[in-house]
Amino acid sequence: MTADEAPPADGSTGRVKPPGFDISVANQARMYDYLLGGKDHYTADRAAIDAQLAIYPDVAFAARANRAFLGRAVRYLAAEAGIRQFLDIGTGIPTAGNTHQVAQEIAPASRIVYVDYDPIVLAHARALLISHEAGATDYIDADLRDTDAILDQASELLDFGTPVAVTLIAILHAIPESDDPHGIVGRLMDAVPPGSHLAVSHMGTGLLDSTTRRGLEDHSDRAMQQRLTARSHEEVARFFAGMDLVSPGVVRVEDWRPEPGAGAGQSVLWGAVGRKP
């Protein structure tokens, strides 16, 4: 879909156009790249991180913890749940341990569809997220809100007759209530068969004192292309309505099936994996 196409007639509100490429405004994908030691970021992104650090000193720990959660969740899905198809929405700028690398290390024939609404991020994904030859990767330029477009295009590579893992890592908090994030997740999970899984990480209200949370939200309003909405444990658990939460349930990302050597710190992110019965 192109940016100037008319909004859909279903009356959905707050449909945000994909961000134009603008290095003068901080961008979550590039800030994340900076925190993870990448080199694809600009002055505004680094300035935004400096501002966040002043509000919340564990920003870098949170970024690493989130990335590590993605790795453990995908490893669990591939190795223990036997998932061979992944729909990774909100891909971000490629770094180490991307979804297809983790999954294909366990099952080389795994198929991964990467989705991002930022055309530059997606260009990086196309150039850098290259599948193992036994498997396949595909790339979709779409907004998470546009579930029809995502499901339609993803079905070219993924077989929706067998289980799919949908990963929504640090993306749902960029969807405001007015865009009905629970409805979005519901539509995605309705489209996949029993045995499919959902993995989520999400900025959490209960994990921060209210001053810090307000500070981060206000900062994102002022300085970032994405506005962030923190959600409660209960609201995050509700993304898994009708599903079975994999133990230990909804916890801080660093506490979800931790592995040794994770380092000290406290993230502000809830993490969870669930299975559609």
């Binding site: 490429f21 694809d40 600009y42 002055t43 260009a123 196309r126 290259i130 030859e133």
Partner: protein, 299 residues
């Protein structure tokens, strides 16, 4: 290993680590020398005086553009207050950084401004480029390389042109490495349309590009004429990125009689912005391959 690093940074890789490309090592040692000099509160002029060199020589040393001499390094380290074992460790790395480069045998034809590029290209973990005129040197066929080389060197002896062609093809050895660098090249449609060396040479070159695009470490994207005005008013350029976290990206801009190397973050970011924007505007890699196939049929 005794650290010679001020302000608690991690020391650079020691001798037990796998061998680092000489150029990367020079850049790291140069960066180290700069940090030590600054920590000691010494100006480039003062440092230059110590080793009977100019301010700009110090700058080239500190950016790894020239080789390091053991005696100079010893003098500088002493000036910077580094002593004993740390000096010996540093000098061991300096010796390692002076292993002969693969292009040494082309020294007769190599202009001084081009030689650093060869080191940077060999050492890069990611090479991004935008081309508006010619196919990138890493993807040229022998005939195309010869056709590109000849007009720029009218009157040059045939042997010299052949040396240039061989040098260009030697650079392509990096495609065959166990772990080749990631090469992400965006080109204007003009690159595909300009029949360098005639239609037959160009057809073979286009087929070669299609094969190159299929290599796992290569991504080629075309900006078709139909996209209208695009982000690159800059002309052709190459961005070289290194795996080492401390090393800055380097932008290489080639001119007829020289080249510019940019590694200041503020300069580099402007080129990163352009190459990012171009990669978003260009056809996707798959569509680009189909586009090149189409142009090959029309050539």
């Amino acid at each position: 290993m005794n650290t010679v690093v001020p302000d608690g940074e991690q020391p650079f890789s020691g001798l037990d680590d796998p061998p680092v490309e000489a150029t990367v090592l020079r850049m790291m040692l140069g960066g180290q020398l700069r940090r030590l000099r600054e920590a000691a509160g010494i100006t480039p002029e003062q440092a230059g005086f110590e080793i009977r060199a100019s301010r700009s020589k110090i700058s080239r040393l500190e950016t790894g553009r020239v080789g390091l001499k053991g005696r100079d390094v010893r003098d500088l380290l002493t000036l910077y207050g580094v002593t004993d074992e740390a000096v010996e460790n540093f000098l061991a790395l300096v010796r390692q950084s002076n292993t002969p480069d693969w292009w040494a045998k082309y020294n007769d034809i190599l202009p001084g401004w081009f030689e650093p590029y060869l080191g940077l290209e060999s050492a890069a973990s990611t090479i991004r480029s935008f081309e508006i005129q010619f196919v990138h040197g890493l993807f040229q066929t022998e005939d195309y390389a010869r056709a590109v080389t000849r007009p720029g060197r009218k009157g040059a002896p045939a042997g010299e042109i052949e040396d240039w062609v061989r040098l260009r093809l030697s650079r392509q050895a990096l495609h065959a490495r166990q772990k080749p660098p990631r090469i992400w090249s965006v080109m204007d449609e003009a690159v595909l349309r300009r029949p360098v060396g005639g239609a037959a040479v160009m057809r073979a070159q286009l087929r070669h590009l299609i094969k190159a695009a299929a290599m796992p470490h290569v991504t080629l994207q075309v900006v078709p004429f139909s996209r209208g005005r695009h982000a690159a008013e800059s002309g052709s350029f190459t961005v070289l990125r290194f795996a080492e976290r401390d090393l800055p990206d380097v932008v290489y801009l080639e001119q007829l009689t020289g080249a510019i190397y940019l590694d200041q973050r503020s300069d580099v970011e402007q080129y990163l912005e352009v190459v990012d924007e171009l990669s978003g505007e260009a056809l996707t890699p798959d569509a680009s391959t189909r586009f090149i196939e189409q142009v090959a049929r029309e050539t």
